[in-house]
């Protein structure tokens, strides 16, 4: 089981004192948070991709490349990479390059994005969101697996005799997750390729995501990638912790009440009941997170949202200490003891390389 954090990369003022970080401060804070993630023993850091204020991460591989140089074990990922509006050729190149620089510590999560104008800004039609996700990903999938690609589609210039460079490290493409909040088609897409499926999970009630994941698992089996319970599932979560539960609630409430997206809406208590948000002691976070497994089955990756809504860097780093020291070691042990032997771990570069080599041997 992999544990990590995912960040939206919003620049939001701290509602308790009005402090607004500069873009430079926020970018450096994101890097500090990633480095802290490695220091406290987390496995994954994933950054969002946005092309409008108040968000800073428009160029994920630049940031992840820098973090790669400063870390040794951390897997660098995205949450999400816009498969609809980025050129799949550029995604193939950027992430293969990152893969080489990071010695394979790279995977990525495809998403369609949630900011409408990004489509026209990048010359695409938002009503074609699903079609773009399907066609672009199919091209990306081929670019990483075929040395020379002839290709013609509906959304970009045709390719004749094109080789995407650098080729994936060791001939093994980065593992891909498909993230979705709403669309069954994306669960179907993940299942078709035998890729991972990540349920953002944090802004919808649980039973909606339960249906999405069940669909993904069923179709994963249908397409012959393994049994339904061997499908590769990731989940989002959102926590704020202090040793004493009441201190956590007291400290987090102003951030919750003024947060972008859900602020000024439901109360913290209502929202915590309806979504995975857990505000309380490390023990409460452990208990709640273990329940995800009861709902969704054994899964492979748990990412937490820790650094949004104007929380100061110092607080976020304290949160990561608590996560790394008190929560994740227990979760690792518990999840591992519950996981049946036939349920795989999340694929890594090493495991994919071993599998590829085994297949080669089997073929010869």
């Amino acid at each position: 089981m992999q544990f990590g954090i995912f960040t939206v990369g919003d620049v939001t003022s701290d509602p308790t004192n009005g402090t607004m970080p500069t873009e430079a401060e926020r970018i450096k804070a994101m890097v500090a948070i990633a480095l802290k993630a490695e220091e406290v023993g987390l496995d994954v850091f994933a950054t969002g991709e946005h092309h409008n204020p108040p968000f800073v991460p428009s160029s994920p591989t630049t940031m992840l490349g820098y973090i790669a140089a400063k870390t040794e074990k951390l897997i660098l990922s995205t949450s999400t990479t816009l498969i609809t509006t980025n050129d799949p050729v550029k995604i193939a190149e950027d992430f293969a390059m990152l893969q080489h620089l990071a010695d394979g510590r790279v995977d990525l999560m495809m998403g369609r994005g949630n900011t409408g104008p990004v489509y026209p800004w990048f010359g695409q039609d938002i009503t074609k969101g699903i079609e773009l996700a399907v066609e672009n990903y199919h091209l990306l999938h081929r670019l990483w697996r075929e040395d020379v690609v002839d290709w013609k589609g509906n959304f970009r210039t045709a390719l004749r005799g094109f080789t995407s460079t650098p080729r994936p490290l060791d001939g093994v493409p980065p593992f891909v997750w498909h993230g979705s909040i709403r669309s069954p088609e994306i669960a179907e897409q993940a299942a078709y390729y035998g890729d991972g499926f990540f349920a953002n999970h944090i802004f919808w009630p649980q039973d909606h995501f339960k249906r999405l994941i069940e669909l993904y698992r069923t179709r994963f089996e249908h397409y012959g990638h393994g049994a339904a319970d061997q499908a590769i599932v990731g989940l989002g979560g959102q926590v704020f912790m202090r040793k004493n539960s009441q201190d956590a609630v007291k400290e987090f409430r102003p951030y919750f009440d003024n947060a972008p997206v859900y602020g000024h809406g439901p109360s913290l208590e209502e929202f915590a009941r309806q979504t995975p948000l857990t505000v309380g002691s490390p023990a409460e976070v452990i208990e709640r997170t273990l329940k995800f497994r009861e709902t969704f089955g054994d899964y492979q990756r748990q990412l937490f949202l820790m650094d949004h809504a104007g929380l100061p860097l110092k607080t976020v780093l304290e949160q990561l200490d608590l996560l790394g020291e008190e929560v994740v070691p227990v979760l690792r042990r518990e999840f591992e003891s519950l996981r049946p032997a036939h349920v795989p771990q999340a694929p890594t570069h090493a495991s994919l390389l071993t599998a590829a080599q085994r297949e080669l041997v089997a073929q010869s």
Binding site: E131, V134, P184, E185, E188, E270
Partner: protein
């Protein structure tokens, strides 16, 4: 015996509210009309006043709280719909519109529907035609020809032929004739994918 489920959405704010009063009259008339063609009716009331906070939260968070989700589920699976709003500033109330803003676009597609409104005077009655009917056309509901407006004075009127009672009865009759013998439109489950991924790819 067939049983029809009728969801009654009422956006009245007062307690008691004349909007709810009209909603109840429409529901009663529908039950009677159903009975006369040998059908039973199960009526479920959805009081938007009780869901006002949930509706606002849904606008902000993008998902419904439990009570609102239940109400939307009931409405989505109902065989028929009666919707009643007070007239505010010449149109449906903001709460009424917000409720229909947070449901899925296809939630009431094909559902036989009576539209109705209450207002201080009959001068507002055409809002049913220029505001309410287009909204439900957009949502692809099957709206009955008779829309029912109740001005305050109507609750005391006994003039024959055009009385509120007659209009209520006629709308209910139209609703039942739309339902009678017609199998309820099957709601498409978004999780039943319309096509295989291979076909999605080849498109």
């Amino acid at each position: 015996m067939t049983t029809f489920t009728v969801a009654v959405v009422s956006a009245g704010l007062g307690q008691p509210s004349s909007t709810r009063l009209l909603a109840d009259r429409l529901a009663d008339a529908t039950v009677r009309r159903a009975w006369s063609v040998g059908a039973q009716t199960s009526v479920v009331n959805i009081e938007l006043r009780e869901l006002a906070h949930d509706v606002t939260n849904n606008l902000l968070t993008g998902f419904p709280g439990e009570a609102l989700r239940e109400a939307i589920d009931v409405m989505t699976h109902a065989d028929a719909l009666i919707v009643v709003t007070p007239v505010f500033s010449g149109s449906y109330s903001g709460l009424f519109k917000s409720f229909f803003d947070v449901i899925d676009r296809d939630a009431i597609e094909g559902t036989p529907t009576v539209i109705a409104a209450t207002g201080g005077s009959a001068r507002h009655s055409l809002m049913l035609e220029y505001s309410l009917r287009p909204l439900f056309s957009y949502l692809h509901a099957r709206v009955v020809p008779t829309a029912v407006f109740a001005a305050t004075a109507d609750f005391g009127s006994d003039s024959a032929g055009t009385s509120l009672g007659d209009r209520v009865d006629r709308a209910a009759g139209e609703l039942i004739s739309m339902l009678d013998g017609v199998p309820a439109a099957r709601k498409v489950d978004p999780f039943d994918l319309p096509m295989s991924f291979e076909r999605l790819l080849a498109r």
